[in-house]
């Protein structure tokens, strides 16, 4: 049985009129999670690839550029990982 989340759920007695959400609350949805998993997999592959290619490169400028890409992907991975946080999950199970 699925429950529907509304902000009035816990404060039902306090609010006579139903309160509307103007924006989606900061919870991770099933779709968000699926995208986050995909995106982190892409970033991980990309950073490993950059690291590997950079080691193989002959030219310094090309090597440095590819290394810069690798570090960017590592940073993006960390940003995404922050969103995968149990405290942002709406259900306890």
């Amino acid at each position: 049985m699925q429950q529907t989340y509304t902000p009035t759920q816990q404060n039902q007695q306090n609010f006579q009129n139903q309160q509307r959400m103007t924006r989606p609350p900061a919870y991770i949805t099933t779709k968000d999670l699926a995208y986050l998993k995909d995106a982190m997999s892409w970033e991980l592959l990309a950073m490993k690839k950059c690291n590997h290619f950079a080691q193989e490169c002959q030219d310094k400028e090309i090597r440095d550029t590819i290394n810069r890409a690798g570090r960017m992907h590592a940073n993006h991975y960390k940003t995404l990982l922050q969103h995968v946080n149990p405290s942002k999950s709406i259900t306890s199970y």
Partner: protein, 193 residues
């Protein structure tokens, strides 16, 4: 995808250029400065000068004497139609079954493009604002880097472009100005908006 297609096309289109390459390097300065002049006519002069300041570390010993940013006319022989090529001399790359620097750059470029496609969809479909904004930033960063990569590849001569002819541009301008004057639902065709 486009870039890669271009790339492939370049390789096909270049045999003339490659044969002439050695002689161009040795006869040198005149031809190259002519190339720059062409470019300046094509309004790219400022960028060309900016690029000129940067020295370049690659194996070709003579390369530093030349401007980095040149337009080369590939089919100089053809008198009827002159195709203006926007292209740098190609960096020396070992051609062998092994992957080379150019292959690595191309592969990373393809990866970045795959990522921007994915993040574009993710940006549209993220549920809450914080997630949407973070993913949008990642999308933007990835795009910027992809552009840097593309610029590096252009500088190294892995990409070339053919300038559209003045006549064709003019025809398109006239045609689409006419469309606007006939069909503009907002009536803004008098340019007073």
């Amino acid at each position: 995808m486009n870039h890669q297609n271009n790339n492939q096309r370049n390789q096909d289109m270049q045999p003339d250029y490659k044969q002439n390459k050695q002689s161009q390097y040795t006869t040198g300065q005149n031809q190259y400065s002519q190339g720059t002049e062409n470019l300046q006519n094509m309004q790219y002069g400022q960028y060309g000068q900016q690029q000129q300041q940067r020295s370049r570390n690659f194996n070709q010993p003579t390369s530093q004497q030349f401007n980095e940013y040149q337009a080369n006319q590939i089919n100089q022989q053809s008198t009827t139609q002159q195709a203006k090529m926007i292209k740098n001399p190609e960096k020396n790359i070992v051609r062998s079954p092994e992957m080379n620097d150019r292959d690595y750059l191309n592969d990373i470029l393809a990866t970045e493009k795959y990522l921007t496609d994915g993040f574009n969809t993710f940006t549209s479909e993220a549920s809450h604002t914080e997630l949407h904004n973070d993913v949008k930033t990642i999308l933007n960063d990835t795009h910027s880097f992809t552009r840097d990569l593309f610029n590096l590849m252009f500088k190294d001569g892995f990409y070339s472009f053919q300038g559209a002819s003045n006549q064709e541009v003019q025809q398109t301008q006239q045609k689409f100005s006419k469309y606007l004057s006939q069909q503009d639902p907002y009536g803004t065709n008098n340019m007073s908006f």
